[in-house]
Every structure is written in structure tokens, then in C-alpha cells.
């Protein structure tokens, strides 16, 4: 007899950026879609984000950043995920990331980027369709 398996999502705000309107809306939408959402609050270092993902054994990490510091923070986060053997976690990002950086971020391992104006449902759908299957 089991209790339903839930999708666990970590919504994180790396760096010093304090815009959380979008992150909170996504958190709420994912919760309303039946997922368990862990929100770290603001001002997270890559180390804190990856440790949290590990302790909470999440299926998805959603990074929200509008400050332009993604070029420094995202590669560090991906590197730490590799070091901690968390490579089966789905990593997505949202916020303000210039078009010209998107390809580079995807190559690092960020599966998809959701910029301003993305419908919330699109993000929820993407998570359902791309969350790693766990045994």
C-alpha cells in the first residue's frame, strides 16, 4: 500500500537579486498542480541551493534570476550538482536571461529557460512532461 508519489520541486533565488514575484507565482502554481514545493527564500549561494536539493531529494530545481548574475551563478550550480551526483535532477530557469546566453546555459545543463511573459501553465506542463522518472 503506498501513498501517492509526489513531485518535489525546489524553487531557488540564487545571488543577491530580490525580485520574487515570479518565483512565488510559480511556487503557488506548482503547489496547486499537486507538487511539493520547497522555496528557499532569497539570497542563496550555489552551495546552499545544491545542499538543499540533496537533503530534500528533489526531482526538479527551478532557478529564478533577474539580476544578470546568471553567468557566474548557473555554471557553479551545475558544477556542484555534478560533484554531489545529482545529475538526474531536472534543472530549469526563469527571469531575465538575454537571448544570446540561453544556448550557453542549455549546454551547461539547464533544460529550459522561461522568460518574461511565459504562461504559468506552460511551465507546469513542462515539469510534468520532463520530470525524471524515479523507480
Amino acid at each position: 500500500m503506498q501513498s501517492e508519489r509526489k513531485i518535489r520541486v525546489l524553487i531557488a533565488k540564487p545571488g543577491l537579486d530580490s525580485h520574487d514575484r515570479g518565483a512565488k507565482i510559480i511556487a503557488r502554481a506548482l503547489r496547486d498542480a499537486g507538487m511539493e514545493v520547497i522555496y528557499t527564500g532569497l539570497k542563496q549561494t550555489p552551495e546552499q541551493i545544491v545542499e538543499t536539493a540533496l537533503q530534500e531529494d528533489v526531482d526538479v530545481i527551478g532557478l529564478s534570476i533577474l539580476s544578470g548574475a546568471h553567468k557566474t551563478l548557473f555554471p557553479r550550480i551545475i558544477q556542484l550538482l555534478k560533484e554531489k551526483d545529482l545529475t538526474d535532477v531536472l534543472v530549469i530557469a526563469g527571469g531575465i536571461i538575454p537571448e544570446e546566453d540561453v544556448a550557453e546555459m542549455k549546454e551547461l545543463g539547464i533544460k529550459e529557460m522561461f522568460g518574461p511573459g511565459t504562461p504559468t501553465d506552460k511551465i507546469v506542463q513542462f515539469v510534468f512532461e520532463n520530470v525524471p522518472k524515479r523507480t
Partner: protein, 318 residues
């Protein structure tokens, strides 16, 4: 099952990834979970399990953060299970308790896990209890269970703990009256946080008054403490009381064990004395062989013979 073995070994070695995976296994309540709990169970019993509950706005998370830091200063390792409600409408949950503890997430001596109440078949209390066992078996000196003291299931969750700390903050409304009766009964320590506020002293008095009304004789008298979680004031004293409660429990357990032992010894002694005096008597009256023959020929069983003898013995007394 090789997977469970690997996780078990990892948990017992204190490997954080294994601990996380183990708790996930429990959350998904598979057959594996039962095996897992059974295999780590022999390694539990060392950790001090502390429950912390209180209404939202009471400063719970800030206080826990300070408590963890104090324990870390003393060289102790800490596990935290933060429980939040699952929405009955959507089945999802927002788990935001670790926000105030985030700076501690990279401390390798601290493990924080957020759990939702879900719809566990064994109830959330069992799932929480099992998660606590994981952290216990992993070697954590202290495991803190945190929940918001709102509903009946929250009372069940907090009972998982050995030491239950209930938190209030002045000015949140009529919260002392609003707190579930169940919580008041089982609390071991009361804390009034935000002690720098006006009504803090009044809140302390109100709680003490409520405790007076509870006429049940208790061996542990719950203290009422004041803290200011933001500055850490009052936290060392709180830890002192928590540790003190653990010592009390150990002494209680010791006392209980000693009493049980004494009772067992008395029973043995009575058995011995009664038996030997009756057998002596039977021997003297020459009736022992007759009774033994009845047992061998299966005409009467030993228990019925013993009862008959005792009844006759008591009749003699009257």
C-alpha cells in the same frame, strides 16, 4: 533488496544522500520502507527527539535556528524534520520552513528535511516517526520535529517527540485560549518568544495560571520561559531546560525499570515461597505422589491442581 541495503549502509554511515533517499522511501511508503525501517531500527535510540510547535508568527523557525546553532556550538549534530500541511484540494504543499535555517544547510553537522502531511496510510505521525528514526540511526545527537500547532494531526505529529516545546508570542490574538487542549496537556516546556514585547510577562502569567488549573499530578512541572529569538536571548536557558528534561526522562525510565525489576523480583520471591511451603506440606501429608500420578495419567493438569490447592489453602486461613 540490494537498493535498500545500499541505502541502509549509507544511513548508518551518516551519508547525506542516503539519508535523503531513505526519507523519500518512507514518504512513498513502499514495501521497501518497512524493510528499511526494520533494518535501521536496532541502531536507533540515541538521539534526543525534540518537538517544537506554535502558531504561525510566533517566531518558531527563528528560534529553531538559534537552538541548532547552540547545539552545534556544543559539538552536537542536529537533524530537523519540518512538517507542513498538504492542501486537501490540490494534493500539493508549500514547504517554506527551512527559509530561516538556510544558512545552516551547508553545515555538514545539520540535516534539514521538509515533509508534507500528504495522506499517509499510517498517518503523518508514523511517517514522521520513521523519518526521525532515520536521522537517529544516522547518528544525529538531536532531532527536532517542527510543526504548526493548529490541527489535530499536528498534535499527533508532535507526540513523536520525547521533549515537547510549545511556543507562543504575545500579541497574536487570543492564542493561549486558541491552542488545542491536546497540546497544552502534553507540553513539557512552554516558551514565550518576542520577550521584548509589552505583553510578554502577561503571557507568561496566563500560561502559568492555565498550568495551575491542570490538577493532574505530574512529576515534571513544565517551566515557562521567555526568549527573544531574533537576538538569541533566553536560548541557552531553553537548551538547559530541554537537556534537563532529557535527564529527567532518563531518570524516569531508570526509575520505571528499577520499579519493574523490583516488582518482578517480588513476584519471583512470592512464587518461590508459596510453592515451596505448599510442596513441603503435601510431602508431609503424603499427598504429593498421588497428585503427581494424576498429572502423569493426564487425569488433571498442573494449573487446575495448583488452583485447587490454593483455594483450599485460603479456606484454611479464613
Amino acid at each position: 533488496m540490494p537498493k535498500t541495503d545500499k541505502i541502509t549502509r549509507g544511513v548508518l554511515a551518516g551519508d547525506r544522500r542516503s539519508i535523503a533517499k531513505a526519507i523519500t522511501t518512507i514518504e512513498n511508503n513502499t514495501a521497501e520502507a518497512q524493510k528499511l525501517v526494520a533494518s535501521i531500527y536496532p541502531h536507533t535510540g540515541k538521539a534526543h527527539i525534540i518537538g517544537l510547535t506554535g502558531p504561525s508568527g510566533s517566531g518558531k523557525s527563528t528560534l529553531i535556528e538559534k537552538i541548532i546553532r547552540k547545539y552545534r556550538q556544543k559539538g552536537k549534530t542536529v537533524g530537523v524534520i519540518a512538517v507542513d500541511p498538504t492542501s486537501p484540494f490540490t494534493g500539493g504543499a508549500f514547504l517554506g520552513d527551512r527559509i530561516r535555517m538556510q544558512e545552516l544547510s551547508t553545515d555538514q553537522g545539520v540535516f534539514i528535511r521538509s515533509m508534507a502531511t500528504r495522506n499517509y496510510l499510517g498517518g503523518i505521525a508514523k511517517a514522521t516517526k520513521d523519518a526521525v528514526k532515520i536521522l537517529d540511526a544516522a547518528g544525529k545527537d538531536v532531532v527536532i520535529v517542527e510543526t504548526v500547532g493548529a490541527g489535530q494531526s499536528e498534535v499527533e505529529i508532535i507526540k513523536v517527540a520525547q521533549t515537547i516545546v510549545v511556543l507562543f508570542a504575545p500579541g497574536l490574538g487570543d492564542e493561549i485560549q486558541a491552542i488545542k487542549a491536546g497540546i497544552m496537556e502534553i507540553a513539557d516546556i512552554f516558551v514565550v518568544n518576542k520577550a521584548d514585547r509589552e505583553n510578554a510577562d502577561k503571557a507568561v502569567l496566563d500560561i502559568q495560571a492555565m498550568l495551575q488549573l491542570n490538577t493532574k499530578e505530574k512529576t515534571w512541572k513544565p517551566p515557562v520561559l521567555k526568549t527573544t529569538a531574533l537576538t538569541g536571548e533566553g536560548v541557552p536557558q531553553l537548551i538547559e531546560k530541554i537537556v534537563g528534561h532529557r535527564l529527567f526522562l532518563e531518570k524516569e525510565l531508570e526509575r520505571k525499570r528499577s520499579r519493574e525489576k523490583a516488582e518482578a523480583e517480588l513476584v519471583e520471591a512470592i512464587k518461590e515461597k508459596v510453592a515451596s511451603s505448599i510442596i513441603e506440606e503435601l510431602k508431609k501429608e503424603g499427598k504429593l505422589e498421588e497428585l503427581l500420578q494424576k498429572i502423569l495419567e493426564k487425569k488433571m493438569d498442573p494449573a487446575s491442581i495448583a488452583e485447587k490447592l490454593l483455594n483450599e489453602e485460603f479456606k484454611k486461613q479464613v
